[in-house]
């Protein structure tokens, strides 16, 4: 998945801004953390929304991600970019929630209502809305693997570790997701 075209300031922010903000947030500066929130909330929310398929739950999980990040921030040593670290943390939070949900609802339904996701202004807004809606309409297990593999770039071995499913199951879920999406999009 290609990132949004970076705004003219993105690289400048990375050059100077984020390391300063992270340093200040680590010492307890909530305003600095608020700025980090503004820079990264879009990506975190997108991940939560696409895996959860539920806007209200995505709201709550996004909040949980940033609260957890605040708690864990003193341990961030800068070995990776802050965005990368935050994203991994977000994946862990969302998957922990998914695992809990799966334990509660042992029967996976195929009839979940697709969620109306925020539209993006791209060349063909109609087509992307179809795809977002189709992803939201996937069964939870297939949706999780599709988002992690085809959208976020994780490999099956990593997905298996993060979700607690077998690698073979991850591959099967991806196959199922892609087939269902092609059908939903009429392709």
């Amino acid at each position: 998945m290609v990132d949004d075209a970076p705004s003219p300031g993105d690289d400048l922010r990375v050059d100077a801004g984020q390391s300063q903000l992270v340093r200040r947030a680590q010492t307890g500066d909530a305003d600095a953390f608020g700025r980090l929130y503004r820079l990264h909330v879009g990506r975190v929310y997108a991940l939560c929304l696409r895996i959860e398929g539920d806007a209200a739950r995505a709201d709550e999980l996004t909040q949980d991600v940033f609260v957890r990040a605040w708690e864990r921030l003193p341990g961030f040593r800068g070995e990776s970019a802050f965005g990368t670290w935050l994203h991994r943390l977000a994946v862990n939070v969302v998957l922990a929630d998914r695992r809990a949900a799966w334990r509660r609802d042992r029967r996976v339904t195929l009839d979940e209502e697709p969620v109306a996701l925020a539209s993006a202004s791209v060349a063909d807004p109609g087509l992307t809305l179809d795809l977002e809606a189709a992803i939201a309409g996937l069964p939870p297990g297939a949706r999780t693997v599709f988002v992690l593999h085809d959208m976020e770039g994780y490999q099956h071995a990593e997905i298996a570790t993060m979700t607690g499913i077998a690698e073979g199951t991850s591959k099967a879920q991806l196959f199922r997701a892609r087939r269902l999406l092609r059908v939903a999009l009429g392709r």
Binding site: T27, F33, Q63, W70, L127, L131, R178, R187
Partner: protein
């Protein structure tokens, strides 16, 4: 089934999707309420600041940090010539806040608080080192910003 390969049908569509989606509402207030206060870590400059503080407490004259000829010190207790005009501006904004949007009023209050805190810090530091040209320049910066902010608010269209 080669599932590690990209799906040629879906992949181009997936690439068009936005990497980020802004939440429909601002989640920050709820997040901020849940942040547990953290005792600020020790910044790297603390040892130097601690040393300076000890010197101040001891009443010792600080080693002059600036190598350039010291400019005429600004008496810390001097009346800020902009205060009168700023007070009038602030009074007019506060007397008639209803014509400014709540967002604008919140922005104004929030930023004035930041400025006033910075002014207090600067003045305290200058009181201990009145000849410090760099501190004087930084104080002027904050004073300028206060004036700019109030003048900007006064220029906003009122409903």
């Amino acid at each position: 089934m080669n599932d590690e390969a990209r799906d040629p049908t879906l992949d181009p569509l997936v690439r068009e999707l936005p990497a980020s989606i802004e939440p429909p509402r601002d989640l920050w207030p709820a997040i901020e309420r849940r942040l547990t206060p953290r005792r600020r870590g020790l910044p790297r400059w603390l040892p130097l600041a601690a040393a300076l503080a000890l010197l101040l407490l001891g009443g010792t004259v600080l080693r002059r940090l600036s190598h350039a000829p010291a400019p005429e010190p600004i008496p810390v207790a001097a009346v800020d010539p902009t205060v009168g005009a700023e007070s009038a501006l602030l009074a007019s904004l506060e007397h008639d806040p209803g014509s400014l949007s709540p967002g604008t009023i919140a922005t104004l209050r929030r930023n004035l608080a930041i400025i006033d805190s910075a002014l207090a810090e600067s003045r305290r530091a200058l009181a201990a080192d009145p000849g410090n040209g760099d501190m004087q320049a930084l104080l002027r910066l904050v004073q300028r910003q206060r004036t700019t902010l109030l003048q900007q608010a006064a220029r906003l269209p009122r409903t």
